[in-house]
């Protein structure tokens, strides 16, 4: 079915198409429309699922885990502070191997309060064991939710799957997209068949005390699940494109990279903006391409190592920051390249707290990166605003009064 909808509503329609059975959720801007739409579909008898209006995100993730382990297909959505608030349970979901799908609408973390887009929220959940995808278009949001269950529920993976979508850029803008009907999805994604579940006919204890002698292996098995996910993601994305005719990449998506001198590496919608920048750069005679990291976890190590031999320079755009270090994607990419390639890699920090990222800026920075003008890390849109000047004056007042 062809619809004109917001990214958030498309998430809800995709969850329905995926045959989701339980939805525990808590409202937070800019995710709210997702759960409103799901509640609306259920109330109208257009979606057959249990909606649990939990009293916090920590509880949302707890209910998500518990529902999944009974053998039901469970879904939730959150954002920023909500994701941070459920952090303990984010670890729990992966550690207890609950193959759920959760959409995170990427938003800045306060203070100061900021409801707009950046990737700090999900980047901060990097080491929890979840698969992490960053979508770059409305259609990809729909397809990723459906693909997400196939990947998470694969018996060789069994890890939760986070689908990250950029606040407002995707969540609140309307775009036409194709949403498959439940019947169309059935063959690709049959009802959830867990490898094991909590059934009184065969009682098992799960999540009990594990001593040092046995613990490390439980964590290694999560890494094995992540490694298996690389294969499963490639297979599932290929199968999906054959069935539905839509391809958004697998672990990565490439754009005009084959003959490129410089690769612009980014996640989410900045990668879409970068495609425009690349077209402009090429009109000006600069051979650039986009290398979009679709999956941040599992990280596309092989693809990046191969990229290291295909281009002469890399500009990594981060919409996040690891304080005391650098952009998180920048660190990861350099780590993957270490020992494989010595091409220069530069880091551009932009778009924090929803500041607009224009293709003009990306064009400018890519040229500087190629010519060697760009330092290792550049806060690309940093400037002194009139609001910042007020703060500086206020600090002067403090100095005058309190010394």
């Amino acid at each position: 079915m062809r619809v004109l909808e917001t990214g958030n509503h498309l998430v809800a329609l995709a969850a329905r198409a995926a045959g989701v059975e339980v939805v525990p959720a808590y409202p937070i801007t800019p995710q709210t429309q997702v759960i409103e739409k799901i509640a609306e579909l259920i109330a109208a008898g257009q979606m057959d699922a249990e909606y649990i209006p939990v009293e916090s995100e920590h509880s949302a993730c707890a209910a998500l885990v518990a529902a999944s382990l009974t053998g039901a297909r469970a879904f939730s959505a959150t954002s920023a502070h909500g994701l941070a608030y459920m952090h303990e349970m984010v670890h729990f979901a992966a550690g207890i191997r609950a193959p759920v799908v959760m959409v995170n609408v990427n938003r800045a973390l306060g203070p100061g309060w900021n409801i707009w887009c950046d990737h700090q929220d999900s980047i901060s959940q990097r080491d929890t064991g979840w698969l992490q995808l960053y979508a770059a278009s409305h259609q990809e949001v729909v397809d990723s939710v459906i693909q997400g269950y196939r990947i998470a529920e694969d018996w060789s993976v069994l890890l939760p799957h986070m689908i990250n979508i950029d606040a407002f850029v995707l969540s609140h803008t309307y775009m036409d997209a194709e949403v498959p009907e439940i019947d169309e999805v059935k063959d690709f994604l049959p009802p959830y068949k867990p490898r094991w579940k909590f059934d009184p006919r065969l009682p098992v204890t799960h999540g009990s005390v594990v001593y040092p002698d046995d613990f490390s292996e439980t964590r290694q098995s999560m890494q094995i699940g992540q490694e298996n996910a690389r294969r499963v993601i490639r297979e599932v994305c290929k199968e999906y494109s054959e069935l539905f005719g839509r391809w958004h990449g697998d672990l990565v998506e490439e754009y005009r990279i084959d003959d490129a001198d410089i690769a612009i590496v980014a996640m989410g919608t900045i990668a879409s903006e970068s495609k425009v920048a690349v077209d402009v750069l090429r009109e000006e005679g600069v051979c650039a391409g986009v290398f979009r990291v679709r999956y941040f976890r599992p990280f596309p190590i092989e693809e990046i190592r191969s990229l290291g031999h295909r281009v002469k320079s890399v500009l990594v755009i981060d919409r996040d920051y690891s304080y005391g270090m650098e952009g998180a994607l920048f660190t990861e990419l350099k780590g993957a390249l270490y020992g494989y390639s010595e091409i220069p890699v530069r880091n551009l920090i932009v778009g924090l707290g929803g500041r607009d990222v224009s293709y003009e800026l990306i064009v400018d920075m890519a040229k500087k990166a190629l010519s060697g003008e760009l330092g290792e890390i550049t806060w690309g849109d940093s400037r002194l605003t009139s609001a910042h000047r007020v703060t500086l004056e206020c600090l002067e007042d403090f100095k005058k009064i309190f010394g």
């Binding site: 059975e21 339980v22 525990p24 057959d48 699922a49 249990e50 649990i52 209006p53 939990v54 009293e55 916090s56 920590h58 509880s59 949302a60 707890a62 209910a63 998500l64 885990v65 518990a66 529902a67 999944s68 382990l69 009974t70 053998g71 039901a72 297909r73 469970a74 303990e88 349970m89 729990f92 009802p191 909590f198 059934d199 009184p200 009682p203 098992v204 204890t205 799960h206 999540g207 009990s208 005390v209 594990v210 001593y211 046995d214």
Partner: protein, 310 residues
Amino acid sequence: MVTLKSLPEEELFLAGSTACHGCPSSLALRIAFKALGSNVLLIVVASCTSVLQGSYPFSAINVPLLNMAFATGGASASGAVAGYKALKKRGEIEEEPTVLVWAGDGGTYDIGIQSLSGAAERETNFIYFCYNNEMYSNTGTQRSGATPLGAWTTTTPAGKPQHRKDIAQIMIAHGIPYVATVSLAYPLDFFQKMQKAKSIVGTKYIELLAPCPPGWKFPSSKTIEVSRLAVQSGMWLLYEHENGETRFTAATKKIIEGKVRKRPVKEYLDMQGRFKPVLEKPEGKEAEELLERKVTESIKRLKGWVPEYI
């Protein structure tokens, strides 16, 4: 009539648990399972029971057991209940299992109250069981919101200066269909309340006073005696709240009706080492009087809700 001999013989709490001697939680699990049967999902939040069930790959619990994070009792139950409902719709199960949350007082009075309150407000169909040992026993006996006035813990070395909160009454205020308190010294009363909880649809809250031998500092052979004296002294009141009415049960009922004389709180305090630091001090007498007065106040308040005793 239910007698000890008529209780089901099947044990779903198996031998080989790693509980301390005289552990009230393991005794309570036996009685609870006898009342609920085997079609149960047990959800244990971080507490002594996370440890006493046995460690990976062994388990002393012969029903499905999900170990969850400290604050998640109510929310986990909501998720599991919804999951089983979905499975029933799909035709995979005939009867949805009873979901039983097992939490200590730390996981109930303190860190878990939000999640429990949310589940109760959502009218989640489950039994929440709080085994209240009045302290964080699992981490080595620290103060909780359930610790009574005057009690020693490692974080109240001079005795706790505040009274405990009464969470059973907070649960009654949620308007849930069934709230009951139980004691190991009155196992048939306990058994019947669990059975009743199973038969009622909605959120059921059951709370056990769980005397902890190492935490309360009494010999591990005395768990039942301390439990009994708690009830006989009025420090633990046995009642059930249903359809807007509170009914006293077992020994508490006899005390209220004047058929049995209430024992002094002092006798109960003297049985335990945890009140010694306070009782040995000059203000010990005052603490004892405050606790005695609290008992009277609690009975008065509860009696006010029971027309036949006014």
